[in-house]
């Protein structure tokens, strides 16, 4: 069948819901939380209209949502949920169970600031707080990437048996409408065949216990297996991203998407919708003679260390834009990237700009101002101040 995309004008949340539908998820367990609600409402609508054959489990909290997803996934079902901020935090304990039991659940997290003060706007601290749960994380720049991300996440997750989170920005993507090219169902089916589970609780001929006790004699080896699966995932992500590109024209074979990198003095690095603005700014800056590029981190877990080293080798500086913060230290992507480069030969000048926390707008003007600041760093050859709270009212 020849690929002809179906163009729909949808919000980021609807893009996520359509992707779940097209991935033929079998079980959805969810609890509504702003700004995720319209994802699961849309899925409920698909079911009510008879468009989808999905077991929908409404639960009383996100902790239960993830518990139900774990149970469903352990029987071999393709399982989906979505959440945001405090809801994701409430799932935290269960996220470890999902990854540890090697269940390829896919979840959309709508990036939202953690309270207090109460906020429903965009901020990456919620998803990055789940960094060490063993989940993979894909950050979408726009609605198209939300849709594509969910489909690819299932394929990667089910290949390596590790759950994956597809992350989109609150409101900036979740509630903003844009054209999304959707893939006809038959072609999605070819790309994403039914799941082949590692094991199934529903196999009554070979009863098993999942996640049962492991003494110090066995625990260590299981952790190693999960760590290896993440390493393996890097390879699978690139293959799946390449295959996606060949089939549907959008290439995701790079875990870090780059632009203007070859002759750039420095690059902006960041994740998510923020990078859409950065790309726009970089286009304009290039016209004004700035030698800048961008490096958009698509997959934060597994961390694309090797790709980052390659980028770092070719530039003098990296401006890391973090829409998140680890208290007592610095922006999370900043820490991660510096750590990744430590034992490499690449040591670009790195400066951390904390931007847009709690949904504060990050504009092209801001990126230009940061470019000017970064230019000074490159010219002087030293980082004046490692971490800057760029948007602070002074």
């Amino acid at each position: 069948m020849e690929y002809k995309p179906i163009r729909k004008v949808v919000s980021g949340n609807y893009a996520a819901a359509y992707a779940a539908l097209h991935a033929r998820v079998q079980v959805v367990a969810a609890y509504p939380i702003t700004p995720q609600t319209s994802i699961i409402e849309k899925i409920a609508e698909f079911i009510a209209n008879g468009e989808a054959d999905i077991q929908y489990i409404p639960v009383e909290s996100e902790h239960s949502a993830m518990a139900a997803c774990i149970g469903a996934s352990a029987t071999g079902a393709r399982t989906f949920t979505a959440t945001s901020a405090q809801g994701l935090a409430l799932m935290h304990e269960m996220l470890h169970w999902a990854a540890g039991a090697r269940l390829p659940i896919v979840m959309v997290d709508v990036n939202r600031a953690m309270a207090p003060p109460w906020s429903v706007w965009d901020d990456q601290t919620d998803s990055l707080s789940q960094r060490d749960t063993g989940w993979m994380q894909f950050y979408a720049e726009n609605n198209q990437e939300v849709y594509d991300g969910v489909l690819m996440a299932y394929k990667v997750a089910e290949t390596v048996n590790v759950p994956a989170m597809v992350v989109e920005s609150a409101f900036i993507l979740s509630h903003t409408y844009d054209v999304v090219e959707m893939i006809p169902q038959e072609l999605v089916d070819e790309f994403l065949p039914p799941r082949k589970p590692l094991y199934s609780l529903a196999n009554f001929d070979e009863p098993i216990a999942v996640g049962a006790l492991a003494t110090p004699n066995d625990y260590y080896e299981f952790r190693y297996k999960l760590a290896k699966a993440h390493e393996e995932a890097k390879k699978v992500i690139k293959e799946v991203g390449k295959e996606f590109g060949e089939r549907f024209g959008r290439d995701y074979s790079q875990m870090i998407e780059t632009g203007y990198i070859d002759d750039a003095d420095f690059v902006f690095m960041g994740m998510g919708s923020l990078m859409g603005t950065v790309k726009e700014a970089v286009d304009l800056l290039r016209k004004e003679g700035y030698k800048v590029g961008y490096a958009k981190v698509r997959w934060f877990r597994p961390f694309p260390k090797e790709e980052l080293v390659e980028i770092a080798e070719s530039v003098k500086g990296i401006a890391v834009l973090d829409r998140n913060f680890s208290f007592g230290q610095e922006g999370i992507l900043f820490t991660e990237s510096k750590g990744a480069l430590y034992n490499s030969s690449a040591h670009p000048l790195m400066k951390n700009y904390i931007v847009g926390l709690g949904g504060r707008d990050v504009t092209v003007k801001d990126i230009k101002a940061i470019a000017d600041d970064m230019k000074k760093v490159i010219e002087s050859g030293k980082v004046d101040k490692e971490v800057v709270w760029y948007h602070l009212k002074r």
Partner: protein, 105 residues
């Protein structure tokens, strides 16, 4: 008695994994609890009085462990390797045929 999925207690062997490659990909049960008695923490143990037992098997249904078996003569037997002494059987028995008595070790 005590056959679980075709294995007897005598046949069951603990599984010892020597290298990481021998481990299953996911932490699923590495073997059978047949080799791993779970009844050694009991304080009280159930004792069946066959004179009162009417073979209703309510105890067998309620026991949360693989600890009650039906003997060929139709009466119930307790497997103390797995009985944790919770007393559910004694509580549920309609004829009070089961009493919990203090374990002597």
């Amino acid at each position: 008695m005590n056959t679980l999925f075709g294995k007897t207690k005598e046949e069951a062997k603990p599984i010892v994994l020597k290298s990481v490659d021998e481990y299953p990909e996911a932490p699923i049960s590495l073997g059978t609890t047949l080799v791993n008695p779970t009844g050694d923490w009991r304080t009280f143990k159930p004792v069946v009085n066959e004179e009162k037992c009417v073979k209703c098997y309510i105890c067998w249904k309620y026991c949360p462990e693989p600890a009650i078996y039906i003997k060929p003569d139709g009466y119930v037997a307790i497997d103390y390797d797995y009985c944790k002494g919770c007393g559910i059987c004694a509580n549920e028995c309609p004829t009070k045929a089961i009493t919990m008595i203090k374990e002597e070790k």
